[in-house]
Symmetry: C2
Subunit: 330 residues, 2 copies
DNA sequence: TTGAAAGCGGTACCAG
DNA sequence: CTGGTACCGCTTTCAA
């Protein structure tokens, strides 16, 4: 089913059908009516590949995330999608599961699709990929907690400030031995997040910290706690890399009969909805995911008013709930 | 950047470059090397639109879900994606947020993309859309709890059996006044899910039920409980349409000082991971989401061995955890 | 206001 | 083993 068949049925040229499809105002209304009728009778659906090939443009933006299962990423994705739709753009999503080969594949895929813009909400990004992206002339926005990149709009959350707030708070509550519950992506030699935690702790001499990691899931958080406690280390507070792993940690503690916050304090990060709904409600750090989504769309989709470009840094807000309390008396 | 430029640089024809790209074995290795070199130097990425236009095929399958935010949908999606990738297919996803206009838009989009297959994991599906889909000759798999469709592979969970198990169990525990916590999509005149619950309750004369609904989110579950209790009805057990709304319900009850399960029993549905991690862990009904995902891929992607087609009905398993108990003494 | 025709970037068939 | 070339389905001048 193609333009030509519609054209034939409506007794016009393919050019005219095309005009109707793109509602060019030049078409005489009687002609338009015939064409519309033919389209409906034939249940014609334009081939989008042909369209973007011929037009040279795509009206779709790509979004790559590390783990859509984590509501943190999902919330950003959802905001981008809503904004994009509102501006007449489509969105194609790719999930990397924190695997760098998958990141490479996904980026190539997006380039191959000739997306109008690309948002990368991922923790890892090889320099050669950046170059490839530059070469392809695709507008890119990068969200991370890490290092700024060149030639690309960057949105960063000041992870360091966030973690410092958490550490300071726990310290003020009398905690001295801290556990850090990460996920696999924070492993690796010089991970920014891990380093940040270590640095934040190192500022305060009386503090001690030990880390463990597993997957970025509920189950992963649980397993990481098992790993940590298996070392014999006895923390009085657990700093979790995000809310999901924190909820996983909560469960493991519950099953061990360790009360939160009486016996152990726990903190999350991101302030996803679940952090209010779990028990006990999590003390966490709020990352404005909708705002991030808006900024991303703003800088990816061309429009009249100029937008701030370059680097944007977000200062996260500390949120105290029920999962933290004074360190237990020894 | 296109085939021709690569061809020129490698001093071969576009046909040969194409062969290299599709690793046809006929190319002499020295020639191939030249081409590969040119491709890398130019950082060439084939235009996927041109490719699928010329090839006539797409190697991508479409997945439409009602609410990706709900892990139930996400788990199915993820399985499909993994299976598809394993077979060399891409996946494009669309989320309808339970809105039927969005469903229409998404289906049209998928047809326009000429996807090799389409999975619709949604609760609503207008007959005219089915026809449009048939017309487009797109293989389709439909997952639902509702009525079987024609000309389409159907996967259905026996929702009725699942709900009956829940109702029977609560009845055996002495519960007589039941609340049903739904979400907006179950509203509307003859919703299958709602009707099923009513039917299941009607089998047992001593039972009484009242329903309330809000969004299919944590917050929605919470709000629905508020709505239900505001009517003055005093249930001793809450049957929730799924685990997410159940976790939302749990929170509202907790804040009202209503203990679960001592004062009120709560059941979920789906058995998503969160149902084990919330507190108290949910009594729920297991829906084999991975299995569903596998079946979907199986029937969408062509392969040698014949697959069962037509209708597939799944009998869900009841899972007892900590959120249900004997009805409180009056 | 409408039609003819030249691409868009690949694929695949046919020769050589 | 490689090159020439006719499409794939649509958009977009250019003329009429």
């Amino acid at each position: 089913m193609n333009l030509e068949q519609v054209a034939r049925r409506a007794k016009v040229s393919t050019a005219t059908v095309s005009r109707v499809l793109n509602n060019a105002s030049v078409v005489k209304s009687s002609t338009r009516a015939r064409v519309v009728k033919a389209i409906e009778e034939l249940k014609y659906h334009p081939n989008l590949h042909a369209r973007s090939l011929a037009g040279g443009k795509s009206k779709t933006i790509g979004v790559i995330v590390s783990n859509l299962e984590n509501p943190f990423f999902f919330d950003i994705y959802k905001t981008i999608e809503a904004d994009a739709h509102a501006r007449g753009y489509e969105v194609v999503m790719a999930n990397t599961d924190y695997r760098s080969e998958q990141l490479v594949t996904s980026i190539r895929l997006m380039i191959g699709r000739r997306v109008a813009g690309l948002a990368a909400i991922v923790s890892e990004m090889a320099p050669e990929l950046i170059e490839e992206l530059n070469e392809s002339r695709t507008p890119v926005v990068f969200y991370d907690v890490g290092t700024p990149r060149q030639n690309i709009t960057n949105i960063r959350v000041d992870y360091r400030r966030g973690i410092e707030k958490v550490v300071d708070y726990l310290h003020s509550l009398g905690h001295r031995r801290l556990g850090f519950i990460g996920h696999h992506a924070i492993l690796g030699p010089i991970n920014e997040r891990m380093k940040t935690v270590l640095d934040a702790v190192a500022r305060i001499p009386s503090l001690e910290v030990q880390a463990a990691a597993d997957a970025d899931t509920l189950e992963g958080g649980r397993q990481a706690v098992r790993n940590l406690l298996a070392t014999g280390f006895t923390p009085t507070a657990l700093i979790c890399v995000n809310d999901i792993t924190a909820v996983g940690a909560l469960r493991e503690l519950r099953e061990r009969g360790i009360r939160v916050p009486q016996d152990m304090s726990v903190t999350g990060f991101d302030n996803v909805k679940l952090s209010e709904f779990c028990f006990p409600a999590l003390t966490t750090v709020h990352i404005p995911r909708e705002r991030i989504g808006h900024i991303i769309c703003e800088s990816l989709i061309p429009h009249d008013v100029k937008t701030a470009s370059g680097e944007i840094v977000i200062d996260p807000e500390f949120v105290v709930r029920d999962s933290t309390g004074p360190a237990p008396a020894i």
